[in-house]
Symmetry: C2
Subunit: 387 residues, 2 copies
């Protein structure tokens, strides 16, 4: 450098990498006598006798499984397991992420119960509760160990597998959050039996989404068993849930960008409108339903911009429909919905990047969105299957 003020300038550069391990477990009933999952998670713990467990349970799950707290306490009474210091309830659904008192209360429990970085927070619940509890675990002591037990289809095949957490703020989804790899994710099949039909079906929109993006034969399988899945045939649903979770896990581990430093978020197909639709409808449309509508919209838009043919678009929308999922909504195409594009860009940062389809199993990132064609997609979507 020729400038005199640069003469004293000195630069040290360092590069390093951090290794993470991510474990995803499927089991029939985590708390059943003889299920070895809890021993496998805590038995080889390097924690000292000072480390304990705080269990946080989704209030809706606790209502449907009234003896859950008691079963947990019994399960942890073994001297080989760390001390279960408290079982606390967390409001179910988006309330967990909207109410700052939820995180505040969890932090105060972490403080008073002396939950340290080698202690474990065991969270049993739906995606929103896992997100809020995960956030508290992520920021306390710069990260307490977290085991997630997702209890919905949606969280078992999608949210709980991810390496992030978040709470809503300023009316924006996941405005605050961190990237944090859970110690383990344990999908307990017994929890799915008590889901409402609406929540059962809602989860499969994420399976259709990831199949559309990455795996054509997986899509074929969902398409052919959609009616059985809708009717809660576990033998049809189980392989879909597991394969979807595995695809998600592989995307994180092998996709090269687990902490989303690049501009695209390839798994967010259909999500720009889904996020917006949820907040525009005050969360009366669930996340799973909103994703179904968002996937239908962006699939149909992919056709209108010439990337896929009309039959392919119809196949995707028909599969969502056959799963009992909604594929359009009156709020689609409103200016307020289209403003979701900017909110989505802002949350990801950098230039706008959304994912479209080039075929089933083939997602592609684009940076330009034609608002008129989005509006046309929204207008024509309700009649696509009857047209």
């Amino acid at each position: 450098m020729s400038n005199p003020s640069d003469q004293n300038r000195f630069v040290f550069d360092a590069e390093f990498s951090v290794d993470f391990a991510h474990r995803l477990i499927f089991t029939d009933d985590l708390l059943a006598d003889g299920d070895s999952t809890i021993e496998s998670l805590f038995g080889d713990s390097s924690a000292s006798a000072d480390s304990g467990v705080l269990a946080a349970i989704d209030s809706e799950v606790a209502r449907l499984h009234p003896n859950l707290g008691e079963r947990l306490t019994g399960r942890f009474s073994s001297p080989e397991l760390p001390e279960l210091r408290e079982v606390t309830l967390v409001p179910g659904g988006e309330a967990a992420k909207n109410d700052p008192d939820v995180v505040e209360h969890l932090l105060s429990l972490i403080d008073t119960l002396r939950i340290d970085r080698k202690s474990t927070i065991l969270c049993i619940g739906g995606g929103a509760v896992l997100d809020a509890v995960g956030y508290a675990a992520g920021i306390a002591h710069r990260g307490v160990r977290l085991i997630r037990v997702p209890t919905t289809v949606l969280s078992q095949l999608d949210a709980a597998v991810g390496v992030k957490n978040g709470v809503n703020k300023f009316g924006k989804k996941n405005f605050c959050g961190t990237f944090a790899v859970p110690d383990a994710v344990v999908c307990d099949e017994s929890m799915l039996a008590t889901l409402s039909d609406r929540d059962w079906r809602g989860g499969f929109s994420e399976a259709v989404k990831i199949a559309c993006l990455k795996d054509e034969s997986f899509f074929d399988g969902i398409e052919s068993s959609a009616a059985r899945i809708r009717d809660r045939d576990m033998d049809a649903a189980r392989p879909v849930i597991r394969h979807c979770a595995d695809l998600h896990l592989r995307h994180i581990a092998e996709g090269g960008d687990p902490f989303e430093c690049r501009e695209a978020r390839p798994l967010d197909f259909g999500h720009w409108s889904a996020h917006r639709l949820e907040s525009l409808t005050d969360f009366t449309v669930t996340h799973g339903e909103a994703v179904s509508i968002g996937v239908a919209l962006d699939t149909h838009y992919s056709h209108l911009v010439g990337r896929i043919d009309r039959d392919t678009s119809i196949r995707v929308v028909r599969t969502l429909d056959a799963l009992g999922l909604p594929t359009s909504h009156p709020a689609l195409g409103s200016d307020a919905l289209l403003d979701g594009l900017e909110e989505f860009r802002e949350h990801l940062g950098g230039r706008l990047t959304i994912t479209l389809l080039e075929g089933i199993g083939r997602g592609i990132d684009v940076h330009v969105v034609d608002r008129d064609l989005v509006a046309e997609a929204a207008t024509t979507l309700p009649n696509l299957l009857s047209g």
Copy 2:
């Protein structure tokens, strides 16, 4: 597994690593005409035109450099640089970490100024302000780009180089925080000229600490130039600040545990009592002074448990003294101070691990602390140099 309830159990394991780059820059005057640092940091930005800059300045730094905001605005008026959207002041010192409104205000600015993940928060200040602003940057949108400009000796050679942030809660230091690698750390020498003598000297306790742990010849250098450093001879101080920061950076990059997943924190020599002393004295003892006292205490304790000889212990304490740093305090040895051992254990998690000296340049982790000998070290420390 023989148990029938395990028959349907299935485990997916995934391992992955995340790469990080860490850049440490020393320069005379970051905002001087012709200094190329800002261009080097923003010139190759992959950010879109939508990305901007939020500058957060330590109120104490702003008081000592009244034209800093104006210089920043002028510097960023270049069309090649992203838009500087606002310059906000953050209360200097520990107040930044104790007052939750500081983080809340920063988050609301990030929201209203539409600072996205590819935008940058440029923070100019001492270690506490860098910690609080870094925390806001770490949790907003799961992590906004952060450039730290440390303005004190202490933050230039230690805190700012680290990959963590934090705020205090429940009366506990850094109860909330995240691990987050800054985009760059820029040490601006011109900022050091306005430090009080007390703050100037305080920083060098961390240099003595890391020299004691890792680098005997570095210790020799500090020892021989202690009086010149105390008297603010920049030619004596500059190499100490730079070498100390470089040692710290190498420890993070090459130490194998940048996010502190193991039980020990090898750089926390002298810190269990230092953290406690700060809160016991309501932060009237500064962090740098507390570290000096803590290093003196644990060095003398290392002698009392037979790990180093008396002369070595005296050399370390004398060097701290020659730098103009305090080496004892009336609160040392009180039960309230010793309770800091448990708080320190809890923050790190797992069993208690503190670092002692086996010689100058050689730290060693231990898990047992003899409270009586700590009390004896505290009692005899004030007379060590005169004895």
